[in-house]
Amino acid sequence: MKRAGHCYVFAFLVAASLFAGSARSAQDKKPQKISASAIQILLFQSDEVKLPAEFQMALYEHVIEELQKAGKFEHVYRDGDHAAANTKDLITLRSNVTGFKQGSERARQVTTVAGATSITIHCQFVDKSGKVQLERDITGKVRFFGGNLRATYDFAKKVAKEVQESF
């Protein structure tokens, strides 16, 4: 009986050490952070999804605001800013809206579970040579309260989080 108990303890320790080892190796494999002093945000494209102008501008302005708040870059340049051309290690954010699910603010207010709006955007962080340094599909959602505008804010928050982790 005692021997069986020892076996269980031994098996548990082996499993725990294996798990810790794999976690450490996963940490070691973490990609290196991308180095850049400035980022330029291009106006959002919507080739597949027909996006109203107000939605396009809300996404663009919210992303700029959140990246400025994040403080990862010395400069956050807007689309068309001439000063960006003089920056050596500039990263450009290109975004293309690939899908959305139309929700309902009324349904959200009534049920608080139904009526979620989501918008999915393919984001590419491209360096000056044109090489894609980072590529992600990021989804902005509004689940509970608020208008569809909150989905653009949620998206911008997620972009800023991605930048915090990768730069």
Partner: protein, 179 residues
């Protein structure tokens, strides 16, 4: 004898002048446009998000005033003015209905706001060429008036005002081609 000839001529000239003044479209009148109860959703520097105030256009400047805060924007720096109706026209229609059945509901119109308000979106450039966007919501029917005034003052748009909205009948292209 000469007075008899001059009086009717003057009368006709006066009637013609009066009719020109009366028939002149109101868009030509240089009256400043002011829209109270306008909400600046985002985009204007120096004004908080969702600030409610008065949007006015006068002497080539778009001004938004909310309490003590105000933002001025030269109208000539505006390179696109789009109302909520413009977006619906551009996205809706037959093609829009067809693409509604596409993946992710790609043709469906995704509106940012509830429909009982007018929206006005402007794109403008700062001194270094950086693109900015500002979104306003205002009482129903006001966005078209603001857009007309902005275009009259020198702003540009990618979606021209509908002929019905201007109150002028469109000139048929066939008629234009005739000698």
């Amino acid at each position: 004898m000469s007075m008899r000839r001059v009086v009717p001529t003057l009368f006709v000239a006066a009637v013609a002048l009066l009719s020109v003044v009366l028939l002149c479209p109101p868009g030509f009148a240089q009256q400043p446009v002011a829209v109270p109860d306008t909400k600046q959703v985002l985009g204007l520097e120096g004004v908080k998000h969702n600030a409610t105030g008065t949007l006015s256009i006068e002497k080539g400047t778009l001004q938004f005033k909310a309490g003590k805060k105000k933002a001025d924007l030269p109208v000539t720096s505006i390179n696109d003015v789009i109302t909520g109706n413009d977006s619906q026209r551009a996205i809706g229609g037959f093609i829009g209905t067809l693409t509604m059945f596409g993946p992710y509901g790609s043709g469906r119109f995704l509106s940012l706001f509830r429909t009982k308000i007018d929206t006005l979106t402007i794109q403008y450039h700062d001194a270094s060429g950086g693109l900015h966007g500002a979104i306003f919501t205002m009482p129903v029917g006001k966005a078209e008036d603001v857009k007309k005034e902005l275009l009259a003052e020198g702003a540009k748009t990618t979606i021209p005002i509908e002929p019905a909205a201007t109150g002028q009948a469109p000139a048929s292209p066939k008629k234009e081609q005739k000698p």
